[in-house]
């Protein structure tokens, strides 16, 4: 498993609230969070927001519970799309580390799964899903390394939303078979957040397995962040980084090491 992440903290307008929400996330053991800016496609002339510089948010970032390092904060944009014209990749999208789309129609869901250059596809938590999740677009998204997001905090705020959240999540998971799912909060306030192990347990009632459920707040989020880093660079497949070279690469050294590892294994199983 990798570190725990909550890739959806609502940006809102109240800076103090956002700060305390991020502090709470750190305290609950999340190592990475993403501040989510939402643009509603249907509102005319709504400008793509520019993310608030992180340096303005904290002088020193809060320390993650049980660790000695500070929380990592990313910026994310979610485009709510009711019409194909709403999702228009522009340079403004590039100001964000992560890009998500919330398709509201069957057609747009299909397009998002198959074509859109995004990291996350959001699933409704505040209303009944207006279309069925079909196997082929869902599998298409999985093959492209795009993840589906279930957000849980609406369900904490409102009992009716709780029903929608669970129904929509169960429907999604029965189609995607637990693959490529992340669970995030969508929190607007500190008390909307829950701990990573709570969410790993909550995932079970959505129909995720123990392993998939924990991956939904850790390993899968890591994949999303990596997808975000590589999006736009060589189709997201090749990403090169300079790293120190090993001058004395000795292939014959490898063999005893491999053998050793195996004997170690053997002695483990008593």
């Amino acid at each position: 498993m990798s570190v725990f992440m909550d890739l959806n903290i609502t940006a809102g307008t109240d800076k103090a609230k956002l700060q305390s929400t991020i502090e709470t996330a750190a305290h609950l053991g999340y190592s990475t969070v993403a501040i989510n800016y939402v643009v509603e496609g249907q509102k005319k002339k709504q400008l793509i927001p520019t993310p608030q510089p992180l340096a303005e948010l904290f002088e020193t970032f809060p320390t993650v519970q049980g660790k000695s390092r500070p929380i990592k904060v990313l910026n994310r944009l979610t485009v709510v799309a009711t019409d194909a014209s709403h999702f228009r990749p522009t340079n403004e999208y590039k100001n964000f580390d992560l890009l998500a789309v919330h398709p509201k129609t069957d057609k747009l869901f299909h397009a998002a799964c198959m074509n859109y250059d995004v990291d996350i596809i959001c699933i409704s938590a505040t209303e009944p899903q207006s279309f069925h999740f079909k196997r082929s677009p869902v599998n298409g998204a999985i093959e492209r390394g795009v993840f589906f997001e279930i957000s849980y905090s609406a369900g904490i705020r409102d009992p009716t939303m709780k029903k929608y959240t669970i129904t929509n999540a169960v429907n999604l998971i029965s189609v995607c078979k637990g693959k490529n799912v992340i669970v995030a909060s969508g929190a607007e306030a500190p008390l909307n957040l829950r701990g990573p192990y709570d969410i790993a347990n909550l995932g079970l009632i959505f129909g995720l397995s123990e392993g998939d459920s924990k991956a939904a707040v850790s390993t899968n989020c890591r994949s999303v962040v990596l997808h975000g880093e590589t999006r736009g660079t060589a189709l997201g497949i090749i990403h090169t980084m300079k790293r120190p070279q090993l001058p004395t690469e000795q292939p014959e050294e490898e063999i005893p090491a491999a053998k050793k590892a195996k004997t170690d294994d053997g002695s483990l199983i008593v």
Binding site: K67, Y197, L204, P244, E254, L268
Partner: protein
Amino acid sequence: MSPELEQCPRSLLVCEKGNFKNEKSRHESQALKHSFNCRISLLIPECGRLPVMLEKVLSNFSSYFHVQDFPVSTFLEEKWLDAVKKGGFYALSSKTRIDEDNVVAVLPSGQLILSLDKDTYEQLGLEGRPSQYSHRKTVRHIVTVDLKSLVLGTKKYQRVLLCLKERVPLKTDFLFTAAGGAVSLLDLLSKQLYEECRPALHCRTLQDLLCPSLIPSDLKGESGSVTPTQFLEWLGAVSLSISCDNQATSFLSTYACPEPQSSVSQALLCTVTGLISPQDVCKLLTEIRRYLDEPKLTSWVSLTVHGCADSPVSWGSAEHGFHKGGENFYNFVCFQNQDYWLHMATGAKDACPP
């Protein structure tokens, strides 16, 4: 409702009984195999003050040392390698979580264990094996380097050094302790900024305690005495000051001390918190046996040893993981006739205890 929601990750409880005087008794080797302990707790029924001899052992537990940002490559320095070779040396990275981060430990056997996330493992370039507790994809690898067989200047040494110093200069907070007096941590750490910590002792006297009646020969509780699970639950209840005299009809809690039971006028509960070496645990165990050699009102004393939730190993070099808990602990019940019970418990991501 779906049956999956009724299932829980597996847990294991190994129960043993034996006699300390039996030559083949494994009690000491089992305790020695459990390298990283964060707390011990001692329950002595019919006792109001910590006996002097036991107090002496408890207050002589070795110090442990906390160092921040300790480079893992330091273990490859000559004086550190020498220290590791002398044995009785324990190191465990702190503020690192076994289900999230890179965790590093040095076992008294001289094995350097690196439990690494995917990125670190791929960059490091030392061969390891995938974690036993991987999910769909392997995202954690375990690299084991035998520090005892590592000789300065050899190709293998150079390679390990290069990987840990140049490729991934891994740094983390560490806790160290040493047992047996062969290794002086103060000398080793002379160039580091360290904090010496003393294991913290807390004692509490409990009045009018309901105790289950234990029969040494009846480990499984088949002849009407308590089962191991009931006994461990009761021990937990005592440690956590949980009320044991509830009615079955009570709204809040229906927990009651298991039957058959008897009341003891007082009992002593002592806990020691810190990185406690297995050698210190063994010394304490010996002293408890001596305490029971003399006639006492109580027929038994219990010693619980809690392992660290985020250690990369539990017993020996068996991999330890954390799913929703990282429990790994054992409990000795020592009887007057030198019989003992040993309970060893682990959670979902652990091998069966030895």
